[in-house]
Subunit: 329 residues, 2 copies
């Protein structure tokens, strides 16, 4: 059976024109190369060189050189691509993220990531938490960034940062003039507009307020426009309130337990592709400090995120089963 390495030796000798130089290139002794060649000739059943001095090929040798050089090159390139893939220099990364992260955080970390990886294709979906989890679960994307899934969800979750809810109201509103964190009681007289993100807030005082609310709006732009018009107020995660237009303000809540936890959603028991793993690492290392630097939250990140090993991936998702908040934004 003809070995690729024998082919490589032959091609090197044929191209060098003599054994000595070829042996040097191959990091072998001339005798080793000579033996390989002899064996190769035995295996193909005919002489490859016209003379002992390896500077002239037979017809068979010429054919072998043509074929062999092609194979060796192609093989080396293929192996290089495998390594490039394994070292996440090439590949394809598909992401799904809630819009607030997609718009406010991803743009800050993505450029550096792609800079060294000009052969990596990236596709990103910005969709609500529920869809993020669905896409992760179905394998449509490698990684998701979303609020914490329900504990029984078939995906694992690694929390990255907390995002407190804030009250969004018109600059003219009564609330805007209160010079301290707002209490639930401050909201009692306001018309509360519900939204996808606030849907999953569990605080009892909030429940009471939201039960009375009659309107749900899922689009942030519309939500803000309604608040600005003085029609009502709403609760949004701080990250969604970074670029508020003139006429509306965001006020902190006194109840700092009202928050969503945003993190990485990934499929259970599936090894990430090398690019995805690399991007995950970047997320874990860079998102929490980035969020902290935005000054949205004065407190520490909720947990010290540590990348789970393959077998433990599932555990890290199951460990915490506190209230599973969610944010559609």
């Amino acid at each position: 059976m003809i070995k690729l390495e024998a082919l490589r030796a032959f091609v090197t000798v044929a191209e060098a024109g003599n054994i000595r130089d070829a042996a040097k290139k191959l990091c072998r002794t001339p005798s080793a190369v000579s033996m390989t060649l002899k064996q190769l000739e035995e295996e193909v059943g005919g002489p490859l060189f016209e003379t002992d001095r390896k500077n002239s090929l037979t017809a068979l040798g010429a054919f072998m050189l043509e074929t062999g050089a092609m194979q060796v090159d192609s093989y080396d390139r293929a192996i290089e691509r495998v390594h490039a893939f394994a070292e996440n220099r090439i590949g394809r990364l598909t992401l799904a993220s809630v819009p607030s992260v997609a718009a406010n955080l991803i743009p800050q970390i993505l450029p550096r990531f792609v800079a060294d990886r000009n052969e990596v294709e990236i596709e990103m979906f910005d969709i609500d938490s529920r869809s993020v989890r669905a896409m992760v679960e179905s394998g449509q994307v490698d990684l998701g960034i979303a609020g914490r899934p329900a504990p029984d969800a078939p995906v694992s979750f690694m929390p990255l940062f907390r995002d407190r809810f804030r009250v969004i109201c018109s600059t003219d509103s009564r609330l805007a003039r209160i010079n301290r964190p707002l209490r639930w009681s401050d909201l009692r007289r306001e018309n509360l507009i519900l939204n996808g993100a606030s849907e999953r807030i569990k605080a009892p005082s909030y429940k009471a307020l939201s039960d009375r609310a009659t309107m749900t709006v899922r689009n942030v732009t519309t939500l803000v426009a309604l608040a600005r018009s003085g029609f009502g107020v709403t609760l949004l995660p701080a990250l969604s309130t970074t670029d508020l237009p003139m006429g509306v303000v965001a006020r902190d809540l006194a109840d700092t337990s009202v928050e969503r936890v945003v993190g990485i959603v990934e499929r259970n028991g599936i090894t990430l592709s090398p690019v995805a793993a690399a991007f995950r690492k970047v997320l874990v290392e860079e998102l929490p400090p980035l969020v902290a630097s935005l000054g949205l939250d004065e407190r520490e990140p909720p947990e010290t995120p540590q990348p789970p090993k393959r077998p433990e991936a599932l555990e890290s998702a199951e460990i915490r089963s506190t209230d599973p908040e969610d944010a559609a934004l």
Copy 2:
């Protein structure tokens, strides 16, 4: 360094879905395959399968399978082509032959040769002896079939058969009525037309006749037409006289030493391509009996032709250095 055989093992396992079946296909024990896979994963730096049960690939494994299957297939096909070439099932055969052989003998042996070799390309030139040798010498053709070259010619020669010269004359001619082999004296009163083939006849009696001749014609058809018209007579190798038209006859010469020796012309010190070697063998084995069966010559072939080994190729051409006849036809 990733070996092709490791890739092959991986591809086989990935396609079989388990190690046991793959090991069977590879004619290895499962433990050997398992170790190969483990080493492969180490070399690429990541897991290729999701679980120990090898039925589900990681992204890296999928990429490796794609790349690897392609490489293994391509390699196997390439090696198969090299073998096909070495076993003369594929390749290209270029021949040059004097027209008499090209027209009368080659068609009888070529069909069977090409029948088992439907991927062999064949190119044949029918040209005079001198050009045959030139094409062989310059490497334009693998093999030539021609008269014996001069002893110092840079080509080797393997004689295949003798071809006696015969007298071509009109049916109405005086010579046509002589009921025995013709003697030189019979020709004394005839107008002798010279030709490329007869040019190199060395017999002294012929010399005397040809010195008196004034016309040389190199085209057989014209030559025959002239003879038919009664303009003169000419001497042609018997093989060129097999399909004489009405109106001319060929008569044997009493001097049976007047002959050309036809054989294989090949380049010195050049290994034939496998197809060429195979065709050469067919020529050596089949041409002499074929010529004998044509009844052109009652005697034995001049030597027992034996295919020369690589180093001896030159010798076999040098051994005989008797009168180097030639035939332009």
